[in-house]
Subunit: 423 residues, 2 copies
Amino acid sequence: MEHIKVSRALHIILDSVTMMGSELVTLEQSLGRVLNERILSNRDLPPYDVSAMDGFAVNSGDLATIPVNLQIVEDIRAGDMPSVVLRNGQCARIMTGAPLPLGADAVIRVEDSKQVSANTVQIVVTAKSGQDVRAKGENMHSSEVVLTAGTEITPGVVGILATVKAKHIKVYRHPRVAILSTGNEIEAIDEPVDPNKIPDANTYALMAQVQALGIQPVLLGIAHDDPLELEQYLLRGLEHDVLLVSGGTSVGAYDFVRPTIEKLNVSMKFWRVAMKPGHPLAFGVLHRTISQADAQPLDAFVFGLPGNPVSSMVCFEEFVAPALRRMMGNMRLHRRTITARLAHPLKIHPRRTEFIRVKLSRDETGYLATTTGTQSSGVLLSMAHADGLLVMPAEGSNLAAGAIVVIQLLDGTAFQNEMGFEE
Amino acid sequence: MEHIKVSRALHIILDSVTMMGSELVTLEQSLGRVLNERILSNRDLPPYDVSAMDGFAVNSGDLATIPVNLQIVEDIRAGDMPSVVLRNGQCARIMTGAPLPLGADAVIRVEDSKQVSANTVQIVVTAKSGQDVRAKGENMHSSEVVLTAGTEITPGVVGILATVKAKHIKVYRHPRVAILSTGNEIEAIDEPVDPNKIPDANTYALMAQVQALGIQPVLLGIAHDDPLELEQYLLRGLEHDVLLVSGGTSVGAYDFVRPTIEKLNVSMKFWRVAMKPGHPLAFGVLHRTISQADAQPLDAFVFGLPGNPVSSMVCFEEFVAPALRRMMGNMRLHRRTITARLAHPLKIHPRRTEFIRVKLSRDETGYLATTTGTQSSGVLLSMAHADGLLVMPAEGSNLAAGAIVVIQLLDGTAFQNEMGFEE
């Protein structure tokens, strides 16, 4: 059976999946979603020149010779409008965000002034015109496009949406994802321990990987190695946008997934990928023709993932997650990568791409990558302890300690113990 | 007024905050939480030596001379137990995950065999003892500690929890966080546009930053510059574990937050930090003595954040987020950092640490950092477009283009357009 390359498999998947339709969410629900509309500014911000500091609004021309005493003619706080036009020798006490009075072109910080009397201040520095002034429209101009469709909604974007009072936002709909485990040997979480069985880790590890993308998946349970039972489960799964089936896709004689899935008119694009861990990886599309009122995409996408939890998690990372991100409108599909030095030599296995679980540490020269020890795909603990996946290309050669390698950063590793800089 | 250093401010905050008590969550709710108990394995996994491949269980001694024909005496699939002991010249067809029969010590892949007749297979490769066998207990040994308290629950950890059937998990409780905006100039999201006012971005940007940590905050709204109104809002806020107040903490004459907060017995640790953006940053502790049945920590922590949205977001990143992570039991408190080359020169402002918003691009030599343009703290768009914060230490000197700098990676940038490796 043909093993296709990792890059080819990913290409086929990303070419096949379609972006979801849109739905409205509230600002409170919008974090992590992707905009499916452009957002216009509804005002000039700031609406006029405002002070960037607490201090004194001055005419910079008055400060040619310093120190200089200025008469305080007004107090302007944020939310107030100035009532007086400054003349030579005059200034206004002004708060951060308050509008500059006419006649003023700069702000002197409180720290650079000395109160001389109740209505006189001594300024001890000079100022350039515009200094510590935020110009009208600096933040945004009225009717300008401030956010484009396809923007992922980060906290900064939420701030902008609040600024323009976008209380309901059109975003890409989330795909409905169903998860199915298969195999007589799989023991459900509610069943008592049977030493002849394997606990169902896949359902929950995949659930968490889907949840990490912001999607709440549907857990279908465990289908036994019985064609009719499996067909019923697969039919339920195919009612969703994406179906993840783990187990049952290898060449073993007792695998029913392949014939059953093909019987259900799923057009399979490939069955095996030249990678470790995880080579039994299948992908197929169910083209549906029943039209729906909401014009949502109608195809269903099926991923056949390895039965082994580590392999299944790695395949999810490399193939399913980019596909789900594309369906949700994300433009960034892949894990951020960093370069690191290898702490030890590594042997290449020819003809397949390897994804090696590594831990990262940091010294003054950058990151050091150390494998989590055994790379047996049976050891799920290695996945839990990994900071990243080291990608060993199929065409590479053995690597010596100290070699520069590329690491995909995994979830849960956005943070570190060190501040990352010295003070 | 004293400006303390960034590192000193962070030290004071992290020394003051206390870790929350614990609560039980279901496995489905556990992603992102931190374990507050150790987790023991409930079985040996695998429960016996099992096949790592689909193939033939053999005695490696039989393969001294190859090719060799072996008699297939049994089919063993995952979930079955072997019924026959292999003798010389015999093998068993075996599926991935199925137990090895007695007499076998290795597995030959289907690909390395040729079916000769219904019950005879030709093996064309030799094998080492243990080859493609996963040893009993390789994944976990019964009663061994598989996860320690303090472990963040990533998808891999969820897989392990499912493996040991931990359906309810003791995790650190989330702090209750309240958010308050202050200032007469602040316009609520439900109010009509008034050009003399500033829309309330802070409440929602902070909300999203808190949500990004998995916490659903309480939005208190906007308190006007009136001591009695402010006091009522602050009292409500202090009923939570953490209160974030934005605006009103500068030295301006119209700031009521400081006197009001001190009147409420909040012990303020500092008011200003030598940093840009964001130097009006305050932190205080309300020591409470009323004991509670659930023995939760009783202190409330107050952060006074700048009124400016960019400054407020940067201060949240640098001070509030690490504090919340510590309260939730996280051991990793700070953003992951990477090194990058500067795309252009940068000028240092002495005596304060600067956090400069940058975009990152990648070439074959690593990351290149470019500022988002204006670093005016009025421009919230720059925060929305930033991939990271470049940290310029207070004691540094001006940097030339090409200089190596440290970048804290921000949220929403875990992904990139490129796979990060070539195939």
